[in-house]
Amino acid sequence: MLERIIKAYNEAVFETDKEAAFEVINEAMAQGLTAEDVVFKVVIPAVEEMMADITRNPDANLAQHFMTAQIAAEVTERMLEKFKHPPEIIGRVVIGTAAGDLHSLGKRIVMGCLKALMVEVVDLGVNVPAEKFVDEAVAHDAQVIAVSAMMVHTATGENGCRKVREILCQRGLEEKIKIVVGGAPYRFDEALYKSVGADGWAADGITASRMIIGLIRVVKDGGGP
């Protein structure tokens, strides 16, 4: 039965058909599958397959990424409400767009995938000041600050990632909190993330979650890269 469900779910995700995906999940639950099984045996493998697919074919369609990530996030969210015990969380991330930047979609995709992969996400919204990134990361005991910037001047400017790095440095938090960045400017110049003081970047919202989970583990294992 599980095999058939996985196949039908993957097909629906491939066709970016949210209604069909939910039909598959509802039917699976009616047949006795638990919410835990849906997430760990159906949704997460599908997200991992999606990441592998993007790595194989980096030019794949952005609209399709958005739609598949949204399906993963919505299904996971619905299932988490039905979990018998709170799920084991891998780690915690605070995420927002850089000061001056209102482009929220990239962030939206990263959040969807992180949630589906059992990472807790605190959404700080758009146009977030650097101080707030750090204050909220400390308050929520987050391992990673994720700064999204879609424009050259918000990606490289003084008030974005650079300032977050400055504050982490001043407060001696650099071992406890890592910074990741994402957005179009970092794709055009793959060394840019380092020069603005980030610890990591990813070319798209979906593979970003893999890199973020790696950094969470680095912090939890006690420090240095």
Binding site: E15, T16, D17, A63, M67, G100, S104, R108
Partner: protein
Amino acid sequence: MKRRPEASLTLRVRTATEECLLQVVPGTSVRDVLDTTKIRVRAACGGNGSCGACVVTWISGDVNAQTTAEYQRLQPAERAAGARLACQLRLQADSEIRIDDPAPPSAWTSIPANSLSAAPAGRPELQQHIYGLAVDLGTTHIRLSLWDRKQGRRIATRRGPNPQAIFGADILNRLASVIDRPERAEEVAHLARDAILHALRDILMRDVGEVRPMLAEIGEVFIVGNAAMLALLTSQGARELLDPENWAGRVNYQPKDPAAFQSKWLLPHATISLPDPVSGFIGSDLLADLVATRLIEGPPGSLLLDIGTNTEIALWDGTHLHITAVPGGPAFEGSGLRNGMAAEPGAIFRVRPNRDAWSLETIGGSPERGFCGSGLVDAVACLLASGQLKPSGRFASPTGDEGFCFDPGNPRTALHAQDIDTFQRAKAATAAAMAALLRQAGMGWNSVQRLCVCGAFGHTLDIAHAQAIGLLPPLPVEFIELAADASLAGCEMGLLHQDGLATFANMRNHIVAINLSQIWDYDDLYIDHLRLRPIQNQ
């Protein structure tokens, strides 16, 4: 603003280097038709036959008899050899002409007469400086018209590219390019000012016959545009506009030194009228659309969509105008697509299935050079209907590096997977923004009574196709109007009105501006609209 398709004749035009097919509305002079294309005849009068410069050779087809002007301007031997004045020549059936000595190439063409609105009443009380210029300063294109304000007569129009695009095709990049660089800011301002002056001189040389004395007779220049274009034109406010904190607030871009503006434009007597934009992210071009379409005089549930590089949307609910803007449009103007192009000669503007192949119609009947907005909508809708494209945006079978070629012999007719992606994102942004506005006003799609579609699609958008892929809502077709040049029309009404600035300012009293980034689930709405399917009635 409703327009009916008119019966047309076909004119074949040959020059030493090219050949094209033009659709001609009977009664229009050949010169007026050619003026809307890149192949223009020489000209130095308003088309009344007095300069004799627009000589063409008639080759075949039924045309009007030679006029008195032609008897006066052309030698008998020339007339016997088929010479005609293009401004006097009118078709009575499909015809063919040759142009041996066309005008030098220019960035400026006339706007086709059938997309212009009826002239507003004149202002007989004007005693001096009776001429006026209306300018729609777009991010990608500039459209303008010269008027005799006293008589209420449109002398000529021009449309051409905004040369500032070299410093950024979109608004944000263009604004960022001038930050902390006063000399660059001056250069960017100069580019737009200079382009407008060029277009004006082109009109004066070709349609009036004198330049300097006429410049001194221009009494007003009325300019509309988005806030960023107005900021760049007047070299101020770019930094403020890049800061989202200032997007919803009132902004003001009156020229700091109007006298300097007049002297740079060589217009010593022209008042420069710049109606204030609504806010940092909604320009006076949208106000012009609202003035032209009289949206607030219509029923509650009237929507207006101005598709451009920056797409602006307004919804009249009977009491308020809910307004927003979304960066949805560049794809519809051909930007960001491998074979995308503006609506210029050679642009595929219509696609239809034709047995096992496709029939493609291009502007000017020239060989296909790429797709403009309406051709793209057709292409995507046809592929979806035939099952070659799936609602996800994937091709049913991989297309490889060549993409999907509508004409296998011509790579410029290909659409690639990435083009479909760009298109999906543009149409989703547009549809989701309309959905968000409706919800904000407590309305649904079924309460929409009127939808005016202005901007990039021109008059060639296939509404059923736009509905099938979810760009336009599934409304009865008679609710939908194509009003391509509404912002120029509104700008002209501002120019011809005794107190145009006040007309625009009054419109602002009804407005509630909505910043989509402050609607918490706009991203979800956007993603929900990415699939290629009719808009769901939620």
